[in-house]
Symmetry: C2
Subunit: 704 residues, 2 copies
């Protein structure tokens, strides 16, 4: 099945059957017809209803089979749930390509079985399903508004995918009133078949779409989702609003759509890894879309604030720090550029302060100076209502400078602050799709999103790394654990897995006699720890079976004898395997590295500050597997306490290569050993650069 | 001088002279006159201009002295800076009470001297100054718009103080278009005399004012500011937007108004301590004001979300967690309350989901059920545009339910999501001052602000604690340090200060010879640490002047000699006082406690996680002195790693009383010893509850 051309037809259908079309204007079966007809759909519409007759001038077919076409691109299904499967069977007969099932009453209310059966049937018959439980599809290229939402959809270049029908309908309204044009809007409902992943895959190649915006509540099939997002964000901005951020919100999501939200921190980190722009609220997401769809990509990091109010300038400066917009800082050059262009009361330090006396001409001059200078890459234009400048000429100035900026490829965003006049100017400019906001934080947030996208696009594409490790050996260990009906590995087994992957662990050997203990200890280097090994003695310390800080041959001898004596005293019939002699791990920086099969995303890895802090501060970060070398490095330095890795208080930098090596190796284990569900190494002791790392405590769990 | 009645006259003047009034409509001297006259000011207006004539029907006096009044309440000064001082002298002659100096060109451009002279002169002559460098004052009670801002000011109950004139003018416009009514707006400009503190003091008692909102860039005289804020927030919500949050923003502030912004984290913590609602952006602050001014105080924490869309409900749930709004969670009671009130497709779990099919009647029923139930204390009403409910009846439903909620003292806020119709409904309701927002995050942010205010008001007022300590002894130590022209205390001196305050420190003594060292070490208990003491050797470790873990008499002898030898090698001419022999401190939880004379706030204390983490994670919190016992406890538990204090991984809880004891004692030191600028104890070692704390390393600096 060729996915791309397949889905292309969903967005560009030539023939649509509306099954359940009706003349009853209060019904969805009418609304959809009405929207298609009045939207000016370019293809053929075939209403189907056993009652026959005519709807909006279209003859109604009593059954699908009566339609005089060989194939039907889309069957839009708006009949009650109990009739849907029969209808789908007819669709197969009629050679339908896509089932757009608006009808609800399936998995979202617990009716999984029927949904699964329909999906399986459709698949077996070469039909794709969008939905069920959704509001339809809008596709600009063929002027198709096959939704029961609002009639008025602004045409443009933003494609919206939404898991919530209600929010989708709200967004159609909101985008229309904010003059954000859409190339498509698709309600994906229960995702019985088609989900975000395949739709994004298509939208990447769709020339009508410049921005992809997604509202979602849960991730299914996360590994594919990740890989398509990584591809998409290299081409176009992808904005995602995902609800269920909070614990309680995640519970609400579960009861609302049956999706498992997963851990929000994981979602957040992986979206960042994928280059996705994650917005907190729908408003923020739509603001970003509004700006990004119109804006060129900045050619560099030097941003300039032009303002007529110092206070607004300071607020914008704060916002720039918050949203990662870099203000151009070369005071000498700034003076050069602006000195003769602005009033002597003003400031050439960025923010460029034109002062409250500034008029349209002053703004023009400052913009001209900024647009013609190659050191300046983006602009924030701020205007605060004043008593002096009546603002009448402002719209013309903004419009012409905005157009010039676009021509020279510099993004510009505006924030206008004030009363009724400012609002009317804002409306006026919004009608022309010029990005104007009322609050500086909103404007700067948009600029920050643009820069995050631009930086992602400019990052070179690197190959991801999955090192070759001895998987056969690891599987052998796992098989023997499974044979014992265990779902967790014993310490020694976990160490064997590490050794198979060549992850450094403390040296450790089993001695069976005093003499052997001495020989082995001498090979390890002092100090060493000695521990009784017996499956009959679980609490080794209680049994007097552990001695630490052993420094010399003599101490090894004494320790061996003491431990054996203690063990006998503790449990006279214990079967003793011997005494383990282990390298005493030097104190280093304690970190934690983990990997797991995540419910949403499949194989993921985790890194963080170790010891007690991992629990208290939760200073950990997640990535989807696989990843590149630079991503691994980014990951390590993305924790809050990253400074510890660089070395604080005069310490040397830590062994980053050693940490990366473990990250890659456990990503190989978690990917290639599907029996393993969880790996946690805590602590991974990290030493100075070049001095390595050590996986001290290892916990490995198997899938149940 | 009686401040209150004094400032009352500023807000309720009977006579105003406008010095610099003019017929030239392009000038501020006209704008102000025009605004006063057309605003319907209830008192007498006396324009003053040497040219004489008439302005807007008012006869112009050639000099202030010609005005036929014994006293003038306000002289509004709009003449060029160079004439201001002469004018102020005339004002003194004429018995003016308040100088409102709009004129700029003083400290904000570096002209500190003239500003200081004018201020001193005014003070000596019983006149108060507002400004200079500001846009005027609006006071609703006498219908006074003595600003050069917009004419149209909405009357209401929000008082605004602003340090930035431009932003103030913008806010007049913004409040008018958002229908937020003002009781006053005052531009405080350079704060030569009157600052936020005295104005807030007055506004607390002003019955016309229900909310105080402040835009500020820097704090002067922070200790008074803190104490008035603490008083104010027990009566009315105080909303503050302070710019200069970011490092670069703080620099921009400094160059913009000459204010020192101070550390933003300190400002943030102390505002929280004072019960202030700090908004990030002006938009957020105005949103809060709009809601809080109309809203009753909730009687409890149980909040309910009513929605017609599951997705919106989840988003609101996320927002509730973010903004500290507690959703009512008793599933059984919720079922009782709503089961028969909502459609069977809906959900009685909070969010109460009426589903997309809900009409006005459904909303009414759900609201009625919520308003009549005493377990429910506040409501979030969400509406998502749907294809089913045409929304026409929505405004009536919202209006009537909002009015009923007000009657029963339950706060309600609405968020309506959709297109043109939703926008027109929003506008319609805004005209009636019903709090309706477009985005759920904005609405919930407002509800969160209301709850933060309510919780602050409900907190019992506790007495603050400054314990009695031996200040005389501490001053004696300081005097001897000063006598040596030093600005820092040596370790021993700092320890003496701790001892004077009865703050526990490790046992420590100074040995002058090997023999003495041995005797003293035996008294302390092993292990001990030995350290060189010399004012010529600051970096003791670098000099080989520190040896730790000394266990025996012999080791003490060896250590003494090694340290002395190393010190001589490091700096042959160093004056050596001896070698300090100190108890080696048992490992506990490392915390940091500090105190300082803050440039903005005066005496403040700091607490945080100690060791290297204070640098890397900056997990510290600040409070203004003095504070109560509960505030001290809140402070300790407000750090991110507070769980460490409770004990993690099965550890016992830590000695909180011991930490509080140190907090109180160093707040006594920093308050009562004005010569001290900084105290830092890092680490303060904390042991299990009942086992005390130990101030290990103490650094004390004196003011220069």
């Amino acid at each position: 099945m060729n996915t791309e051309s397949d889905i292309k037809r969903l967005f560009n259908p030539k023939t649509i059957a509306v099954i359940g079309a009706t003349q009853d204007t209060s019904k969805i079966g009418f609304k959809v017809m009405d929207n298609m007809v009045s939207g000016g759909y370019k293809g053929k519409i075939y209403p189907v209803n056993p009652k026959g007759g005519e709807i909006l001038g279209y003859p109604v077919f009593q059954t699908l089979l009566d339609i005089p076409e060989e194939t039907i691109d889309i069957a839009l299904i708006v009949i009650p749930a109990k009739f849907v499967f029969d209808c789908v069977r007819l669709c197969a007969q009629k050679n339908v390509k896509h089932l757009v099932i608006i009808t609800s009453g399936f998995s979202e209310v617990g009716n999984h079985q029927e949904e699964d059966e329909i999906t399986a049937f459709a698949k077996a018959n070469g039909m794709r399903i969008l939905g069920p439980n959704m509001f339809g599809i809008y596709s600009r290229s063929v002027k198709l508004n096959a939704t029961f939402g609002p009639k008025n959809i602004q045409e443009g270049q933003v494609a919206i995918l939404t898991q919530s029908g209600a929010i989708g309908i709200g967004m159609i309204g909101k985008t229309a009133s904010a003059n954000i044009g859409l190339s498509a809007i698709i309600s994906i409902g229960n995702k019985a078949d088609l989900d975000e992943t395949e739709l994004i895959e298509y939208l990447i190649t769709d020339d009508d779409t410049k921005i992809i915006m997604i509202y979602m509540e849960g991730v299914k099939n996360g590994a594919n989702f990740v890989s398509v997002l990584r591809k998409a964000t290299k081409k176009k901005p992808v904005i995602i609003v995902k609800s269920g951020r909070s614990k309680r919100g995640a519970m609400a999501t579960a009861s609302h759509t049956g999706s498992l939200a997963g851990e929000d921190a994981v979602f957040d980190d992986i979206m960042m890894q994928c280059g996705v722009l994650r917005a907190e609220s729908i408003k923020e997401g739509l603001d970003w879309a509004k700006f990004l769809v119109e804006s060129p990509i900045p050619k560099g990091e030097n941003s300039i604030i032009i303002t007529n109010g110092g206070g607004l300038g300071v607020l914008a400066t704060d916002a720039c720090e918050k949203f990662g917009v870099n203000l151009y800082d070369d005071q000498a050059k700034l003076k050069d550029i602006y000195e003769n262009k602005i009033s002597s009361f003003g400031s050439t330090k960025n923010p460029i302060d034109l002062t409250g006396g500034a008029t349209g001409v002053d703004y023009e001059r400052a913009f001209d100076a900024s647009l013609t200078n190659n050191e300046i890459h983006s602009l924030l234009g701020l205007y605060c209502e004043t008593a002096v400048f009546d603002g009448g000429e402002l719209p013309q100035v903004i419009e012409s400078k905005y157009a010039e900026a676009k021509k020279v490829g510099k993004p510009v965003i505006f924030s206008l602050f004030g009363g009724a006049q400012v609002e009317s100017i804002t409306q006026q400019l919004t009608l022309k799709r010029i990005p104007v906001f009322g609050d500086v934080y909103e404007a700067v947030s948009c600029m920050g999103a643009l820069y995050r996208f631009a930086r992602g696009v400019q990052k070179p594409i690197e190959s991801t790394i999955i090192p070759t490790i001895n998987i056969a050996k690891i599987n052998q260990i796992i098989d023997s654990v499974k044979a014992q009906n265990r779902h967790f590995l014993l310490a020694g087994e976990a160490q064997d897995v590490m050794m198979a992957a060549q992850i450094p662990i403390p040296k450790s050997v089993l001695a069976h006699s005093t003499e052997e203990a001495v020989i082995l200890a001498n090979q390890i280097n002092y100090p060493v720890v000695m521990k009784i090994v017996s499956k009959d003695i679980i609490h080794k310390s209680d049994a007097g079976g552990v001695i630490v800080g052993i420094q010399t041959e003599q101490e090894v001898k004494d320790a061996f004898e003491t431990i054996m004596r203690n063990a006998k005293n503790y449990k006279s019939d214990a079967v003793i395997d011997g005494v383990e002699v282990t390298e005493m791990v030097k104190k280093g920086l304690e970190t934690i590295i983990g990997a797991r099969q995540d419910v949403s995303f499949g194989p993921i890895v985790m890194f963080g500050l170790g010891g007690v802090y991992v629990e208290v501060l939760k200073d950990v970060t997640f990535r989807a597997v696989p990843f590149s070398k630079n991503e691994a490095k980014d990951m390590l330095f993305s924790i809050k306490s990253a400074a510890m890795l660089k070395g604080v208080r005069g310490e040397q930098p830590k062994d980053i290569d050693g940490l990366m090596d473990i990250l890659f190796k456990i990503s190989a284990i978690i990917t290639q050993c599907p029996a393993i569900s969880d790996i946690e190494i805590n602590p991974v002791m990290v030493y100075e650069q070049g001095k390595g790392v050590k996986a001290v405590d290892i916990r490995i769990l198997l899938k149940k």
